[in-house]
Amino acid sequence: MITLVFGMLLVLVGVWAMLTRKQIIRIIIGFTIVDTGIHLIIVAIGYVKGGTAPILDRAVSELPAAAAGVEALGKVVDPVPSALVLTAIVIGLAVTGLMLAYTVRLFKHGKSDSIDDYEEQKW
């Protein structure tokens, strides 16, 4: 619950940063803050009250394999949101790197790093 509230607040702060800043690198920093906030929201949805990490070793149950799976059902959190957020963090890194490569190349061509000076490329 607390994680959910802070995730939503981070999304709002990040969108505000994307909308009001003029330098291109600040806009990209706002994008990474939005990304972090959304990941917090997704992980907060998968939480089970009083649960532990979904790794079924001796700490969760002492039985051999097949029975360990059944006994651990009451004690672990949901593994599916963790897997989705794992993928999303790596893709966020890839998209941020690509945006920064665009920024460096755009700056060498246009000699200005404020987004107001690139109006000629709108149509």
Binding site: M1, L4, V5, M8, V11, L12, V15, W16, L19, T20, I41, Y47, V48, K49, G50, A53, P54, I55, L56, D57, R58, P64, A65, A66, A68, G69, V70, A72, L73, G74, V76, D78, P79, V80, S82, A83, L84, L86, T87, V90, I91, A94, V95, G97, L98, L100, A101, Y102, V104, R105, K108, H109
Partner: protein, 232 residues
């Protein structure tokens, strides 16, 4: 002035969209049925302690294939946009004394730690992506410390392409050896004992290939960004 009003309206609108998720939210106390199937199946069918690894590699294996493809496309885009400086003009300043000594001591430890993380991905938290990033950080440390560390981009390209082909090849081997609807099914290798290192079918091999691929990709992205020196 009108821009400020529109910004405030946009943020209030976004808050109003997110609000219904917060109002009727109560933390669940039992797992939903799909998660129960995945947790039971990961212990019984696949012999795998880490349920998140089971979801990432087997049950949602096509998503992982898509993610590896997106990472490859982004690396290709970054390499296209940033021109490589020619090797005649070397880097001007070396790192300080502390950085050089520390890098020589710590880089072998980084490599061993990264290989440990992705090879034990099925027994403890970790896996291919985390181990690959740790290996790329080790390579970054030695690039920052030495002045004339010439990077052989050919080795990085070979290791990245070969691990990508081997990953898809292992998925297709599941298709061939186990019947026609089992792409990326890892059960054709030896199952082994529960909690041993060589267990759970082909999953350690698949995760190690993903770890090598991600590590070489990120190392080549870091090398490209550091050496950019040309005009447009």
């Amino acid at each position: 002035m009108i821009k400020n009003i529109l910004t405030v309206v946009a943020i209030i609108g976004l808050g109003w969209i997110l609000y219904p998720l917060l109002v009727d939210f109560e933390t669940s106390t039992v797992l939903n049925p799909l998660a129960q199937e995945y947790v039971k199946g990961s212990a019984a069918d696949l012999n795998l302690p880490n349920a998140v690894t089971a979801v990432v590699v087997t049950y949602r294996g096509l998503d992982t294939l898509g993610e590896v493809t997106v990472l490859f496309l982004a690396t290709a885009g970054i390499g296209y946009f940033l021109k490589r400086r020619s090797n005649k003009k070397a880097k001007q300043t070396a790192g300080s004394e502390i950085l050089q000594t520390g890098a020589k001591l710590l880089t072998p430890l980084f490599m061993v730690f990264g290989i440990y993380i992705f090879s034990h991905g099925h027994l403890s938290p970790g896996g291919g992506f985390q181990g690959g990033v740790v290996i790329a950080s080790g390579i970054l440390m030695i690039v920052l410390a030495e002045v004339n560390f010439h990077f052989s981009h050919l080795i990085l390209q070979f290791s990245e392409s070969l691990s990508g082909i081997a990953y898809v090849g292992m998925g297709l081997a599941g298709l061939v050896l186990l019947g026609l609807n089992n792409f990326l099914d890892p059960r054709y290798f030896l199952p082994g004992n529960y909690l041993a290192l060589f267990s759970a079918g082909a999953i350690p091999v698949i995760y190690s290939l993903i770890g090598i691929k991600v590590g070489s990709e990120l190392a080549s992205v870091l090398a490209a960004i550091q050496q950019d020196g040309g005009e447009a």
